[in-house]
Symmetry: C2
Subunit: 306 residues, 2 copies
């Protein structure tokens, strides 16, 4: 694969940034990649494991001369980071991000982007329950979606280049408008996460069933919830606070449906339950056919490499 950017700066060095680094290097998509993390411990870890060609001690140093700057910090921190780095951005550079919420990122980051710099928000639909610089692996984005959310007047050439980078990392790229992005993600990711967090919290809280019993008998069902509920707390706090409206809307729908099923249980309406469960089963088949998961017992997970 040929190089897409001479210089890339990764701001924030967690799961996504570290996976991007290994994926870009493996495919030869970037010349020099600089990295910056606010925490000194994270920067030390990055240097120790060879994450980034150069780890910088300030965000301005990291972005200086970069053709592409990718904000990989929690959504709630993006505005402040954008303000700090803005004066050091190279004219003609592209600034992008990997945040799970797009309307809020656009409203907090865009005002800081200097004229002549392209701001092209993006969101890779990929992740694991692990976080931090040591959790990344090159295959994270393989056959996953990358949603580009161009802002008004985004330069088509700059968009095409960013798309080429993500495609080079194995992602399938689509464009979407910010409000629709936030609603789709509220359905497919944000609300499911909140629900999983809640269920795990209930289990932890119940006096008549001990934590050790919950942990011991977690097969089938609860185990998958705990995996979802083990995701990074800061990232998810910011997601819910910044995608408030869409999340609350979907939560409202969820509660309504849950009450209907709860009522069917209480009244013994087996037909309603059976019909409902048959319908949801069909959706699973659609996902397997769409190639977003596999039917095999290993669920298509592959061991990551660096």
């Amino acid at each position: 694969m040929s190089q897409v950017y001479d210089r890339v700066a990764l701001i924030g060095l967690g799961l996504i940034a570290s996976s991007m680094y290994w994926a870009m290097k493996r495919a030869g998509l970037a010349g020099e990649v600089t990295g910056y993390a606010r925490s000194e411990a994270t920067r030390d870890t990055a240097r120790r494991i060879g994450l980034c060609d150069r780890v910088c001690d300030s965000v301005t140093e990291a972005v200086e001369g970069a053709d592409l700057v990718v904000l990989c910090v929690p959504v709630g921190a993006m505005g402040a980071v954008a303000a700090e780095m803005a004066p050091a951005l190279k004219p003609g550079a592209t600034v992008s991000d990997v945040g799970s919420v797009k309307r809020d990122v656009i409203s907090t980051v865009a005002p800081h982007i200097p004229e002549g710099v392209h701001f092209i928000p993006a969101h890779p639909l990929a992740g694991t329950e692990h976080s931090g610089p040591e959790s990344g692996f090159a295959e994270l984005f393989a056959n996953r979606w990358l949603l580009i959310v161009p802002t008004e007047g985004s330069d088509p050439e700059a968009v095409a280049r960013l798309r080429a980078l993500w495609e080079g990392m194995g992602a399938n790229v689509e464009e979407m408008d910010p409000d629709h992005h936030d609603l789709v993600l509220a359905v497919t990711s944000h609300t499911p996460h909140l629900i999983a967090y809640t269920m795990v919290g209930v289990a932890d809280d119940l006096r008549r069933v001990t934590d050790s019993e919950v942990i011991k008998y977690s097969a089938a069902g609860f185990r998958d919830f705990t995996r979802i509920a083990a995701s990074d707390p800061t990232m998810w706090r910011d997601v819910f606070l910044t995608n408030k409206d869409a999340t609350l809307e979907i939560l409202g729908r969820f509660t309504e449906e849950l009450f209907a099923l709860q009522r069917a249980i209480r009244t013994g309406d087996g037909d309603l339950l059976h019909d409902y469960f048959t319908r949801t089963r069909a959706i699973r088949r659609g996902i397997i056919e769409a190639g977003q998961d596999t039917d095999a017992p290993d669920f298509g997970r592959v061991k990551g490499t660096r």
Copy 2:
């Protein structure tokens, strides 16, 4: 491993029964294993794939002469099957089951068990989202829990023998009383399943986000829900109808917690969210340490064999 029962009868030939057959045969735990399924198509499939040494066309034929009879039908069907087979049971035989609910199974099955036959309810905490005779594999129970729920006056020798069978199939065996079993399972399995079904139903129902978008962008979060929500509709209908009280209790707790988190999102209480998500993360670590899941990207799933 030495043979535990001369003759075993499996009633109902779905995921659990077929996995039991392959596991028993692999370990040499049973002499002849007969099988019966109500549906002729299922019996034909079983004969075609060599599931059971002998597939019978009636439940009485299948249980005749059996030292162990295992009811592997949905919980709601167990009472009728028990009534039908009762006259054909061999004196001294053991009747067990694999139902996900225990109080209800005991109250519907026990009255049909003739004097001199041991009734020892059990529940393997293992499964996949697949169902039917072709979905079983010998490793399904490896390192999973098998809960034995002895009824009043269960013969200790018969219990020990059933335990040996399950241990021979790789399971870890514990005893539990029926009410506590039903509560623990309401927390770790039944309520999580209902919630997953609900979330998938909401996604399917939402007009502004198309099904194809939901399917397409199902990575991280929703995908796991769809897997849970793809489980057998009949089995799960029966679980909720027969474990009504415990499920409704846990659902009540769940809704209460969900409303607290929803309120935190609405009011922007980031500290509450962050604290909650940090606490649930710790539970995940406990599960990994308890050996009920792995930290590795393949989540410890192994390809099944027959």
